[in-house]
């Protein structure tokens, strides 16, 4: 019996998504090595990639990169399907939904910093809601909220400034709308 070769057609778009997702997953891995005083408080450097992808290629590509990043990073860290994975997934879903909403703000007035801060707050919010509903139903999350909000504020602003710096004067075309 002759060996049959199965060839999947790989478009340039696929290659691009794979490369960007690998970049984002790499950043997730790198920051997992950083010590954190409280589990869940981390810079969220992968959001820099997500935002750049959003600005350059639009929402559909950003969703792909985010999803693959989430799966790849969790497989490499060994957290796939663990509570931490679901918390990250809830945060990712919330922040992508937020990105979809804030993307419609007028670009003349709102830039990457707005997007990044809004995403960071949505991420924290999604995580805490899932944590409250599922993991620590009895815990008083009102004590965690200020700490997570402060982290979202600081890291969201920093990531947004990095994105703004990276796209400043690069002359690359910007994706115009959030419509998939």
């Amino acid at each position: 019996m002759a060996a049959r070769e199965i060839r999947l057609a790989v478009t340039p778009e696929d290659r691009r998504i794979a490369a960007l997702a690998a970049l984002a997953a790499g950043l997730s891995l790198a920051e997992a090595a950083l010590p954190s005083p409280i589990p869940g408080v981390k810079p969220g450097l992968a959001n820099i990639v997500i935002l750049l992808v959003m600005l350059r290629y639009g929402f559909a590509t950003a969703i792909w990169v985010m999803t693959i990043r989430l799966l790849a990073a969790s497989l490499m860290l060994g957290s796939f399907l663990s509570p931490g994975f679901w918390l990250a997934a809830a945060g990712a879903a919330a922040s992508m939904s937020m990105l979809y909403v804030v993307w419609h703000l007028p670009g003349r007035w709102f830039g990457p910093v707005s997007f990044s801060v809004a995403m960071a707050f949505a991420h924290v919010c999604g995580q805490l809601v899932l944590a409250k509903l599922w993991l620590f139903a009895s815990a008083d999350i009102t004590l965690l909220m200020p700490i997570f909000a402060l982290a979202a504020l600081v890291f969201g602003t920093a990531n947004g400034l990095i994105v703004a710096r990276l796209i400043a004067g690069d002359g690359l075309p910007r994706a115009q709308s959030a419509h998939v």
């Binding site: 703000l105 830039g111 707005s114 809004a118 909220m145 200020p146 979202a152 602003t157 400034l161 703004a164």
Partner: protein, 125 residues
């Protein structure tokens, strides 16, 4: 390094201001716990006194070093005197919010304010 000016748009400042307000709001909310309704005094982990915070009273509790005196006045409570060397719990002063506590570690005495949930003070049939 470029100045921040080129990187921030007017709306970004608005978003940042809102985010700061939200964060500050969470901090205020977390610290402004509801007023407590009862005190619980423990010595070596055992509950020695459980009383309403509304009634002014004085309690003397025997710890490992000596007697700690607890005062309840106008809905607040404090450790008025303690034989411990560092007097941390005495210097802490009045506590009144649910979950607050004054710990006299050396004497192994603790004063804790009971939560917003009100304990029964009377039961009638």
């Amino acid at each position: 390094m470029n100045s921040l000016k080129g990187l921030l748009k007017p709306g970004d400042l608005l978003v940042l201001a809102c985010a700061c307000l939200l964060t500050a709001g969470f901090f205020v909310h977390a610290w402004n716990k509801p007023a407590g309704s009862a005190i619980v005094v423990r010595a070596q982990g055992k509950v020695m006194v459980r009383a309403a915070l509304e009634r002014d009273a004085d309690y003397a509790v025997q710890g490992t070093l000596g007697v700690s005196r607890i005062e309840v006045r106008q809905g607040r409570a404090r450790v008025a005197a303690d034989p411990g060397p560092r007097q941390v719990c005495v210097k802490q002063g009045w506590v009144s919010r649910a979950g607050e506590a004054a710990l006299c570690l050396a004497n192994q005495v603790s004063l804790e304010i009971g939560g917003g949930e009100r304990a029964f003070d009377t039961v009638t049939y």
